[in-house]
Amino acid sequence: MTAISRRLTGARGSRQGMWMLPLLIALAVALWLSLETAQFLNGENLLNLVPQAMPLVITAVGQMFVILLGGLDLSVGSMISFTTAVLALGGPAWVLIPAVFALAALVGFSNGFIITRFNVHPIIATLSTQYILLGITRVLRPVSGGTVPDIVISAVAGSFLGVPMPVFWGIFILAVAWKLLYGSRFGLHLFAIGGGVSSGVEDAAHNFGIADRRNIVLAYVICSCFAALAGVFLAGRIVSGDPNVGLLFELDAITAVAIGGTQLSGGIGSLHGTVIGALVMALLANGMNLTNVSPFIQTTIKGAILLLVVALQSRKKMGL
């Protein structure tokens, strides 16, 4: 069992985590779908796949930052719903769009602050945030409705120079995340903090003189802002505010990160792995829809996948 788990997630010689396997899984799922159903290879379905996967890719990439340092953010699902609700409040776009990101940064800051200063376990801290945000969202918008600013809709559904907008979103998100993770000291310090946590020496990075608390807070801010970005994208797709649109998104995002080879104990993982993990999840969802699997059973299957992936990880610290 440990041999299997090491091969799946083991990162000897690299801290990228095992991302080859999920890539193979993604290809296998795509192959299965194209053999199983005629609709999969249909041009319209393939064109739909990118915008379908985009919110999960964005959320998962944000979640990855927090998981890399040995944390977890359960509040991203509520953050997404909250963002759509705020965007559907009605008002000028130049107020609403900056507002959702400012609020997301605030939520992320409070998550990080509570975790680092009051030593609250990340799961508990962000679970509380999840409920707090959920309540506020339901006050703002008890049922789905309202309309979001036109610019949000056209930024998602439109196209530029003949290229559909979601492609630009994808490039933008990956560029930002790549710069943060691999092109900055912050990214290296994330790995350092996570490496200390997962090897059981919480202060290791701190002892090297890294501002660990500040970096942790920043990671939670990034995670929340990415979730808000996913919320803006979703709002553009559904053209309204919906208090339930982000429901269980945190679970999908964590599963995607874990499938992509990122260790939930921290310190090991990669951006490309996370993107592949999110694509696997999106392909599975697409395939289950095409093969008429009940949405209720889909939730069960996703939960089982998370359990399986995490059980195969050589976990150490968080007890996850």
Binding site: A11, G183, S184, L188, G195, S199, A205, N207, F208
Partner: protein, 532 residues
């Protein structure tokens, strides 16, 4: 910087004492350092001066304060009082990074590199060079790290993850880190504990190089042969106090051991028991690891037997393999004639042993032994409860609890007081009381008096002796040799995962225990090949 260099020159001419080619000057002076942990004094006013171009051995028994002193110099701990002078200037280190920046590099027993970063990243962590675009300049990091590694004659790729390195290589990387930061003081805390003979040779070569370059090296080790092979000066600590500093040229191993011992047996201990009865616990052909030599041990009724030896020589692993916390390689264990299959399962080990009448008192009473937030009564009754079925109604056990508290003279406001509020000695009594209240007749005790004041120590010794006199048997593991001599009937000295010597405690002295524990008589000088 210039001023400092000038001052250094001035100091050097002021003290024109020559040793070989370079000037000897005092790089670091620690004076009257005091440090207490949770009320227990670890250092009671220790002073030490480190000279350039010299390897300074730091010796003393376990718990003498060597590591604490060096952790203070490395910025891990802060002293309660005393001064650290660096090049004659007083400094204060608040965290390890401060010490590193001041030129003090440390290789600790427990390594401090991050396993998921590369060698180069570890060496530059916290002060990475950046490129024009604000990214980390990996190329420069690798180049400079490679240079530092090459200086040590290492051919490691700086892009290798530290998790891929052997322990020896990690230590060399830490030394290279020190070289790259231009450290002037290198602290090596038992660097050879995990090295094989060939790596020790390489390490010694590196140490001599550092010495030739005029660095000051502090070398903590228990191995006599190494100390005499590479060190120039030795400072001996005992019980947190300075015994003395000598030049090794004028010392012999015997004289050094005498320095480390030299203390009178305190009048703390109860009278020893009569002739022991039949065997309660017998261990045969026990091998802790694959490579260790087999040994046998018998614990008899009415007897207190000690496991002595230097830290980490296997005595704790042996004790813990009896309760299932460690998987030994091989051996046969019988408790009161009933054989105990090895390995003992970690889940049910302690519980099963309790059913057989064996109690295990772990070293760390706060973490492993007691439920600090629960009452004295709950803590004492825990072992009583564990003998009953899980679903049985909990019995009150008021009488047993009251009896235990009064017979052990536990000082607490009452049975309801939380154990965490008691003093260390009383906590330890409660922990012992748990097993004395249950019908236990074999006690396995780790560190019976750690962090306990002298009065309580004496009471605990009396309790253990009474327990043995009433027909129990005790196996004790302790870092304090004096305690073992005074308390026990027989002493088994453990070295290199095996019992190298058994002696009646009445004839034992700290000197001959330390002698056997250091492996000074024959066997250990040849132990180089045996090292793991």
């Amino acid at each position: 910087m210039v001023a400092r260099a000038a001052e250094t020159r001035a100091r050097a001419t002021e003290f024109p004492e020559r040793s070989g080619a370079c000037f000897v000057k005092t790089l670091v002076e620690m004076s009257d350092i005091r440090k207490a942990f949770a009320g227990t004094a670890a250092l009671k006013g220790v002073s030490i001066a480190l000279q350039s171009g010299s390897v300074h051995a730091l010796m003393g028994e376990n718990g003498a304060g060597k590591s604490t002193l060096m952790k203070i110099l490395a910025g891990v701990h802060q002293p309660d009082s005393g001064a650290i002078l660096l090049d004659g200037r007083q400094v204060a280190f608040h965290r390890p990074k401060d010490a590193l920046e001041a030129g003090i590099s440390t290789v600790f027993q427990e390594l401090s590199l991050l396993p998921n970063l590369t060698i180069a990243e570890n060496m530059f962590l916290g002060r990475e060079p950046t490129t024009a675009f604000g990214g980390v300049d990996h190329r420069r990091m690798r180049r400079e790290a490679g240079k530092a590694l090459a200086e040590l004659g290492l051919t490691l790729d700086p892009g290798t993850l530290v998790s891929m390195l052997s322990i020896a290589e990690r230590q060399f990387v830490e030394i290279a880190h020190g070289i790259m930061t231009d450290a002037s003081v290198f602290i090596l805390d038992e660097p050879t504990a995990a090295l094989n003979a060939a790596d020790v040779e390489v390490l010694n070569r590196h140490i001599r190089r550092l010495k030739d370059e005029g660095k000051a090296v502090v070398y903590i080790s228990h191995r006599m042969d190494e100390i005499f092979a590479i060190c120039d000066t030795v400072t001996v600590l005992k019980d947190g106090e300075l015994v003395g500093t000598r030049s090794l040229a004028e010392m012999t191993p015997a004289a050094l051991i005498a320095m480390m011992v030299g203390r009178e047996l305190a009048d703390l201990f109860p009278q020893r028991g009569d002739a022991p009865g039949p065997a309660m616990l017998s261990v045969e052909d026990f091998r802790i690891t694959e490579r260790s030599k087999p040994f046998s041990l018998e614990l008899r009724r009415g007897e207190i037997v000690a496991l002595a030896g230097l830290e980490g020589q296997g005595q704790q692993r042996f004790m813990r393999s009896l309760v299932g916390q460690y998987h030994p390689f091989a051996g046969r264990v019988a408790i009161k004639g009933k054989s105990l299959p090895l390995p003992v399962s970690p889940g049910g080990g302690v519980r099963r042993l309790q059913a057989m009448g064996v109690g295990f008192v772990p070293e760390d009473r706060k973490e492993d032994g007691l439920f600090l937030g629960l009452s004295v009564a709950h803590n004492i009754a825990a072992a009583l409860h564990s003998k009953r079925s899980e679903l049985a109604l909990a019995a009150g056990y008021q009488r047993q609890i009251a009896d235990t508290m009064s017979s052990l003279a536990v000082k607490a406001s009452g049975p309801g007081a939380a154990v965490g509020t008691l003093s260390g000695g009383n906590q330890q009594k409660v922990l012992l009381g748990r097993y004395l209240a249950a019908d236990i007749d074999i006690l396995l005790v780790e560190e019976p008096t750690r962090g306990v004041d002298i009065g309580a120590k004496s009471e605990i010794y009396r309790l253990l002796r009474d327990f043995a006199k009433k027909g129990g048997a005790v196996l004790v593991l302790s870092r304090e040799t004096v305690e073992l001599i005074g308390l026990c009937d027989r002493i088994c000295v453990v070295h290199n995962d095996t019992i190298v010597k058994q002696m009646p405690a009445a004839d034992a002295t700290e000197h001959n225990i330390l002698d056997a524990a250091l492996g000074a008589n024959g066997e250990a000088s040849g132990a180089g090949g045996e090292r793991r």
